[in-house]
Each structure stands twice: as C-alpha cells, then as structure tokens.
Point group: C2
Chain length 193, copies 2
Amino acid sequence: MDFDLILQNVAKHIQLDTTESDFFVSLLQRRTLKRKEFLLKQGDICKTENFIIKGCLRTYTIDANGVEHIVMFGIEDWWVGDLYSFLTHTPAHYFIDALEDTEVLQITKDNLNRLYERVPKFEKFFRLILQNAYIAQQHRINQNLSFTAEQRYLKFLTQYPQLEQRVPQKQISAFLGITPVFLSMLRRKLVNR
Amino acid sequence: MDFDLILQNVAKHIQLDTTESDFFVSLLQRRTLKRKEFLLKQGDICKTENFIIKGCLRTYTIDANGVEHIVMFGIEDWWVGDLYSFLTHTPAHYFIDALEDTEVLQITKDNLNRLYERVPKFEKFFRLILQNAYIAQQHRINQNLSFTAEQRYLKFLTQYPQLEQRVPQKQISAFLGITPVFLSMLRRKLVNR
DNA sequence: CGTCTATTTGAATGTACTCAAAAGCGGTGG
DNA sequence: CCACCGCTTTTGAGTACATTCAAATAGACG
C-alpha cells in the first residue's frame, strides 16, 4: 500500500499506534510529477513538506550566469522542500523539479501543526529528520572545503551509488560544483587507470 | 547577570515563566576557555551543547595535508558543538577551540533530556535553533557552489562584519576554503579599486 | 529518420595553489 | 624599553586545477 514506505520511515525514529498512524496518513496528500515538472519554483511559497515514495527530485538554484547548482538530490525515502520558505511563508530560494517521474506525499503546515498537537511525538520525529539533514550538510561543507573535484566525485560515487546510475552527468557536475566538461575529463582520466 | 544573554536567546522563540527559566539555568554549567584552548577535539565524545556568552570559537577539521578548514565560527549568542557526536555518543568529527578568551554555558545530554521532559517547549526551541542553522548551512553550500573566492569573501564581509574585525585573515581563508596567500592577493586587488 | 540534448575532445584562458622569501606585528624576557 | 622570537601577512614566480569556447560525437525520444 502507498503509505508503507512513509510509515517505515517514521518507525525508524518513533513508535505509533494504529490511531496515530491513521491520523498521520489522513493528513497526507499524494502528488504525481512528470519528469521535468516543478514541485516548487524560486519565488513561490513552499506550502508543503514532501516525502518521496518513487522517483527523483533535485533542489537547485540558478546563478547570475544562468548556471544551475544542485543543493540536494532526493530519492525514495527522502524528505524534500524549501524549509525556510515553508516555515516562514516567504518566497522560496530554490527550484525543485523532477529528474524522473515521481510521486510524493505532501503535508501542509496547518496539517503539520495539527499533527504536532495531536501526536507530539512528531515534534521529535521532525527534529531527528532535521538533525540528520543538518549533519549531512555539515559534512558536505567540509568536503567541499577539503577536497578537489576529483576527490569529491569519487566520494559521491561511493556515497550515492544509486544516483550515479540514475541521473545524467550534467546533474552530477551541478551537484559537485564543476562544469560538465570538466567532469567528463575527470572520468576519462579515472578510466585510464 | 550571567544568564541574561541565554534567556534572551531563548525568549526569541519560546516564552518561559520564572519556574521554567530557573530550572533551565540550574541545568547549565559555566566554562571559561583561554585563547587557543580546546572545547572539543576530534575523536573525543562531545558531551555538551554550548552557548557562547563571550568570545569566539571555531569549529574545524584538519585534512590529509594538515590544512585546517573552518566549518563555522561562533560568537556571543551562538550555540556550538558537534551535534552528531553529542546526539549519538560517537567520536567527534570536529575540533573546536577558542580564537579569543571565551565563556560558554554548557548543557549535558542528560540535563537536556530532563529539560525536554519537564519543559517540553524546549523541544520546539532546539528544533528552531536547528532549523535556522540548517537553513544557514544550505545557503552556504549554495554560495560555495555559485560564487568565486572573491565573491565569497565580499559576501563574508557583509554577512559577518564583526568577525572580519576580530579574527585573523588566516582563519577567514580557512573558512572561505582558500589559502591565506590567495586571500591576501584578493584583498590587494580589491583595495586597488 | 530527424531533432534536441548530453557528452566528449581539444586549445586557450583564468582562477587558485605551491614554494620561497621578505616584511610586519605582537608578545616576552632581559 | 628594546631586542628577539614566532607567527601572520605580503609579494613574486612558476604550476596545477578548472573553466570557457568551439566543434565533433553520441544518445534519447518523438
């Protein structure tokens, strides 16, 4: 059933009884995105937090020169959204679109607040989700500071082996912060060993 | 009095009555650090979250070549620590030491859990602190991807004008992810305009 | 098949680093 | 108060990493 994955995701951190999990899923809305379809555009208000049950999303910006930079990828079992926009009801900094046909479960801020009230354990749940995301980001900042593009690419391969298969090189280069041309050169160099 | 700053910091997000704030401060321990003294070393377990009431700390790593990379600075009114180590009781990834004589208020994990139990509002408080930190980091990742060293330096100057005055250039270069030599060249170039 | 986009390749350029040496600056002890 | 030491910052030359531009090739999709 559709809610299996998200309930497993929740169960990693908090225990729910049937009433609680029924209430939780009653607050979720399903949404389907075609490849290249936007979940969020820069400047819009991000009205939902989104749990991916199928497919792949990217969160990115476009800089002054029109170059895209990917802040994060999301695949099955990941939460994505523009947290700042969601929380403060201000225009989003990021674009989010689908790299594959994707299905998400969405929860609005109002529903999230209802959830916090009725099942306060979810405060803890979302705190933990956030903590993990925070720690992952901190490591990424550190990696970007410490490593060359080649090292970052090799790290990416081991850290996200699924993604390497699924997303085009162009997207990987936008995540690593290098040009597609240079990534292509790196790959050639690596193969020749 | 010593707890003014931290109580103001808390009051930004949640309201406490006297009993609650008394209980909160009763869980805090004060610690003084001399310049260059360590609050945490890589490999140690981070046993406290730390609120800076005076001074300046840096959270950093040392890469394979012995080069330091600063993940964040902390000054008055900031919370610092190695969150992952603190939460999971595993060895810390980061060093934290003092760039100036510094005073912090510390709370242990046990005391934090007591606090959560007795004053559940603090769950919300630390969630908000974390949210803000998360968002700031996300912007930093994006900036590191989108901007050249010169642009990042200029951004740093406007974002942390206090720090520019207080910390040596060497530390700023370690934060920006460039060599001190190159930062010196950038500064010369910028002055010559 | 044709069109559109992604990837590869090569040459020229720019950005940032290394190494080495000199100059500046702060603290300490005589 | 000055001299010296250690550390930071500056300067310059040579080098490595990564980008831009342009063109060719390969792949994906209707």
